[in-house]
C-alpha cells in the first residue's frame, strides 16, 4: 500500500483509503532491483461559484480518481517488471499559496500531476525546486499555457480550450450546419470560451451571425419556458445556437427552450469533451467499467486527463526502465511514445508545446455525435493537429532545445 495522503484540515471526507489490487503474476528474477516511481498529485482546491441548478454536484475526487485508476493500471504492469509506483496526494484548501506549499513536496517527487488553476500551475512550474522535474497540467485549458506562457517542465494532458472548440466546429462543418448564433455568459471563462468559439468558427469557415450576452438574473427553474424564447427571438436565422457557459450555470435550461427549433451546442447540448461517459467504441467501455468499479461514478474529462498523465508516466517508465524525469520527458516527446487512450487513435505529445495530442469527443448526453478530428480535415503531419494550436501558431519557445 503506497498511496498516502497529506490532507488539509476539513478534507477528511474524501480521504477514503485507496485499495490497489496487485496482480503479482511473476516472481521477479532473484536479485533484480526494484525501481521506485514516486508520483505526487498536487491539487489546489478552488471555490466554485454558485450556479442555478445544483442537480450535478462536482465530485470531490474529480481528477484524482483518474490518477488512482492509472496507478492501479501501472502497478499491474510494474509487477511484471519490478517497477513500484506510488502516489502521494496533497490537496490545498482555497486561498493557499500553492507554490509555497509545493516547495517541500517537490523535494520528494520528480513526477507531479498538477490539478490547479493556470496561475498556480505557473507559480509551481517556475519554482527553483521544480527545475528538472516533470510536471503535468491535468486541469487548465488556457491556451497561453501552450503558447507564450509555456514551460519546458510542464506537459499538458487536459485538452486546450481551443482544441475543444475546433472539434465542435469540425463536426458542425461536416454536417454543413454553417450558420451560428451565440449566447455568452458573464464570467471570464464564458468570455474566453466564446472567443475560442469565434476563432474556431472562422478557422473552419462557419459564420456566427449574431450574439447575445446573458444578463438575466431570474430563477430559470421557474421561468425558462417563458423567458428564454423571447430572449433569443431577435437573433438572426441560424442552424445551431451556441452557448458559452463554462461554469454550467444557465446553459442547461437552453436546449429545447429556444425560439427557433434549433440544436444547442458549446457548453451545453452537443459538447466537445476530452472524455465523455457515452463513449462506447475503442475499448472505452472497459476503461469506464474499471473506473466506475473503483469510484462509483462516471469518468469525466478531468479524470481522464489525470489518468492519461499517470499512464503516460507508466508507459514511459515501462519502455525506458528509468524514473529519471529528464529521460522520461525525452521519451514522452519522441516519436516512439504512443499511449492507448481508448479514443481510437494513439495519443502522443506535441513536441513544440508539450500538449497531449488527442481526439476530442463531440457528444450529447446520450451518445457520441462524432469523434474529432473528423475525416476530411487534413493535416500534413497528423490529422489530430487540426485541433488546437499547431506548431506555426504556438508562440511557445521553451521546447526548442
Amino acid at each position: 500500500m503506497s498511496v498516502s495522503y497529506r490532507l488539509s484540515p476539513g478534507l477528511a471526507q474524501w480521504a477514503k483509503p485507496v485499495f490497489i489490487a496487485l496482480a503479482l503474476g511473476l516472481a521477479l528474477p532473484a536479485g533484480a532491483e526494484t525501481l521506485a516511481v514516486k508520483v505526487l498529485y498536487l491539487r489546489q482546491e478552488v471555490e466554485r461559484p454558485p450556479v442555478l441548478s445544483n442537480l450535478d454536484a462536482v465530485p470531490e475526487d474529480l481528477g484524482l480518481a483518474g490518477a488512482e485508476l492509472a496507478l492501479a493500471d501501472n502497478r499491474t504492469t510494474g509487477s511484471f517488471l519490478g517497477h513500484d509506483y506510488s502516489l502521494t496526494v496533497i490537496s490545498l484548501p482555497p486561498g493557499t499559496d500553492t507554490a509555497a506549499e509545493a516547495k517541500a513536496a517537490l523535494a520528494e517527487a520528480d513526477l507531479v500531476l498538477l490539478d490547479a488553476p493556470a496561475p498556480a500551475l505557473l507559480a509551481v512550474a517556475d519554482l527553483p525546486e521544480a527545475a528538472g522535474k516533470l510536471l503535468f497540467n491535468t486541469s487548465a485549458g488556457e491556451e497561453a499555457l501552450r503558447s507564450a506562457d509555456c514551460r519546458a517542465n510542464l506537459l499538458h494532458t487536459i485538452p486546450e480550450d481551443g482544441a475543444r472548440t475546433d472539434a465542435l466546429m469540425q463536426v458542425l462543418a461536416a454536417k454543413r450546419w454553417m450558420h451560428l448564433a451565440l449566447v455568452v455568459g458573464p464570467k471570464p471563462a464564458d468570455q474566453a470560451f466564446a472567443d475560442h468559439l469565434r476563432r474556431s468558427a472562422e478557422k473552419f469557415g462557419l459564420q456566427i451571425l449574431g450574439e447575445k450576452a446573458w444578463t438575466f438574473d431570474t430563477d430559470l427553474r421557474r421561468a425558462a419556458v417563458v423567458e428564454l424564447p423571447p430572449f433569443l427571438m431577435d437573433l438572426p436565422e441560424h442552424d445551431v445556437l451556441l452557448v458559452a457557459d463554462e461554469t454550467q450555470d444557465f446553459g442547461r435550461y437552453v436546449p429545447d427552450n429556444t425560439y427557433l427549433p434549433r440544436p444547442v451546442a458549446g457548453s451545453e447540448g452537443v459538447v466537445p469533451l476530452g472524455w465523455a461517459p457515452v463513449l462506447e467504441q475503442w475499448g472505452a467501455v472497459q476503461l469506464q467499467e474499471r473506473f466506475e468499479a473503483q469510484s462509483g461514478r462516471e469518468m469525466q474529462s478531468r479524470d481522464f486527463a489525470a489518468w492519461a498523465a499517470l499512464r503516460a508516466i507508466g508507459e514511459a517508465v515501462t519502455r525506458t526502465g528509468t524514473a529519471d524525469p529528464a529521460r522520461l520527458r525525452a521519451y514522452l516527446l519522441s516519436d516512439a511514445f504512443q499511449l492507448d487512450g481508448f479514443k481510437g487513435r494513439g495519443l502522443s505529445f506535441r513536441p513544440w508545446n508539450g500538449q497531449l495530442r488527442q481526439p476530442i469527443a463531440v457528444a450529447n448526453a446520450r451518445a457520441l455525435v462524432a469523434m474529432a478530428p473528423v475525416e476530411g480535415f487534413l493535416h500534413p503531419v497528423n490529422e489530430t493537429d487540426t485541433l488546437g494550436l499547431d506548431a506555426p501558431e504556438s508562440q511557445c519557445t521553451a521546447f526548442k532545445d
Partner: protein
C-alpha cells in the same frame, strides 16, 4: 463484384455445406454463412455480446464467449440449441481451445485474469493473473504454452500449461489484440492495435526477431490498427486485419514485408478461412458485414451482410 463470383467459386470448389459462423456483438446472435452460396442460411440467438467463437475438433460443439452474460455457451451447431454453459470467469472476450480438444483458455477482459476451463468436467481448472485487459489468446501446437496478451499492460504473457504459471512476459507495442503461433510452433505473432505493428517472437527463448510495419497510401497511419491475424495454409503468408483502415494486409512470412493490401469492409476485426482454405472471411464491425477474399488472387470477391457488429468467425466443414 457479385458478377465475378460464379467463376471464382467454380475455381475454388468449396466442400458442400461448408459454413462460416460469425458472432454479432450487438445483436446477440450468430450468423451462419453457407460457403457455397455466400448467403446467411441461419441466425441463432446467443447470450449477450457474443465475441470469441470456436468449434470442438469434431465440429459437434460450438463454443461462444457471451461476454456480457459472463459465460461461455456450448451450442449444438446442428440445431442452434444452447446445450449448457461453462464457467468462464467474468467478461470472457476471446478464447482458444487447446490441442487436447478439452481445455479452453479464456481471456477475462475486466478481471485481468486468464481462466482455464475443462469442457468435460465443466469446471475451472485454474485462473492466472495477467496484465490489464487480457484479450489475445493462443496455444502452441504442442499444447505446452498458452499466450495471453493484455491490452493496457502491453505484454504477451507466456503460460506454462502444465503448471498454469507465467514463465515469461514480453513487451509488445500498444494495445496487443491477437496472438497466433505458426503451424510449427516456432514463432509467435502478436498484433498491436494502437502501436500499429505486428511483433514476431521466436518461441524458444521468447525473443523478438522481427516487427512488421504497415503503410497504406492515402490512409492516416494512426488508423492502421492491426487486430486479427491468420496464416495461409502453406504458412508463406500472414493475413492481418487492419481495423479502421478497412484493409487486410498480406505479409510475406519469410521477409516480414507487406506484399499486398486488400480493401474490405469497415473496421475489420477477425479472419477465418473456408474449410478448403480457398476463401478468407473478414468480420467488418462497423459496416455489419463479412468480406469474402479469394486467397489465391488476394482479391475481395463478395460481401455478405450479417448482424450488427460482427466480431469473431469460425469455419465448419
Amino acid at each position: 463484384m457479385r458478377h465475378v463470383l460464379p467463376a471464382l467459386l467454380a475455381l475454388s470448389q468449396p466442400a458442400l455445406a461448408a459454413e462460416i459462423w460469425v458472432t454479432n456483438e450487438k445483436d446477440d446472435t450468430v450468423s451462419v454463412i453457407d460457403v457455397a452460396t455466400l448467403q446467411v442460411v441461419k441466425t441463432y440467438p446467443t447470450g449477450e455480446r457474443p465475441r470469441g467463437i470456436t468449434f470442438s475438433k469434431d465440429f459437434s460443439r460450438l463454443y461462444i464467449c457471451a461476454s456480457d452474460s459472463n459465460t461461455v455457451q456450448v451450442m449444438d451447431p446442428n440445431t442452434g440449441e444452447i446445450l449448457h454453459e461453462l464457467p468462464s470467469g467474468e467478461d470472457p472476450e476471446q478464447f482458444v481451445l487447446a490441442p487436447d480438444d478439452r481445455h479452453l483458455y479464456i481471456a477475462n477482459e475486466n478481471d485481468a485474469v486468464t481462466t482455464v476451463v475443462d469442457t468435460e468436467s465443466r469446471k475451472v481448472v485454474a485462473q492466472i493473473n495477467v496484465g490489464i485487459e487480457p484479450e489475445g489468446m493462443a496455444v502452441s501446437p504442442d499444447g505446452k504454452i498458452a499466450i495471453t496478451t493484455s491490452e493496457t499492460t502491453n505484454m504477451a504473457h507466456w503460460i506454462n500449461t502444465e503448471t498454469h504459471e507465467l514463465f515469461a512476459n514480453t513487451l509488445v507495442d500498444s494495445r496487443p489484440r491477437h496472438a497466433e503461433f505458426t503451424a510449427d510452433g516456432a514463432q509467435l505473432w502478436v498484433t498491436a492495435e494502437i502501436g500499429g505493428t505486428v511483433s514476431v517472437f521466436e518461441t524458444k527463448g521468447q525473443t523478438q526477431i522481427a516487427k512488421v510495419d504497415f503503410a497504406i497510401s492515402g490512409v492516416s497511419d494512426d488508423l492502421i490498427q492491426p487486430v486479427g491475424l491468420r496464416f495461409s495454409p502453406d504458412g508463406k503468408r500472414a493475413f492481418v486485419a487492419l481495423g479502421p483502415s478497412n484493409h487486410v494486409a498480406v505479409v510475406d512470412t519469410a521477409t516480414y514485408q507487406v506484399t499486398n493490401y486488400i480493401l474490405v469492409g469497415r473496421r475489420v476485426w477477425h479472419l477465418e478461412f473456408s474449410p478448403d482454405q480457398s476463401l478468407l472471411f473478414t468480420t467488418n464491425g462497423v459496416s455489419g458485414d463479412v468480406t469474402v477474399i479469394d486467397v489465391a488472387s488476394e482479391t475481395a470477391v463478395n460481401t455478405v451482410k450479417v448482424g450488427r457488429f460482427p466480431w469473431g468467425a469460425a469455419a465448419r466443414p
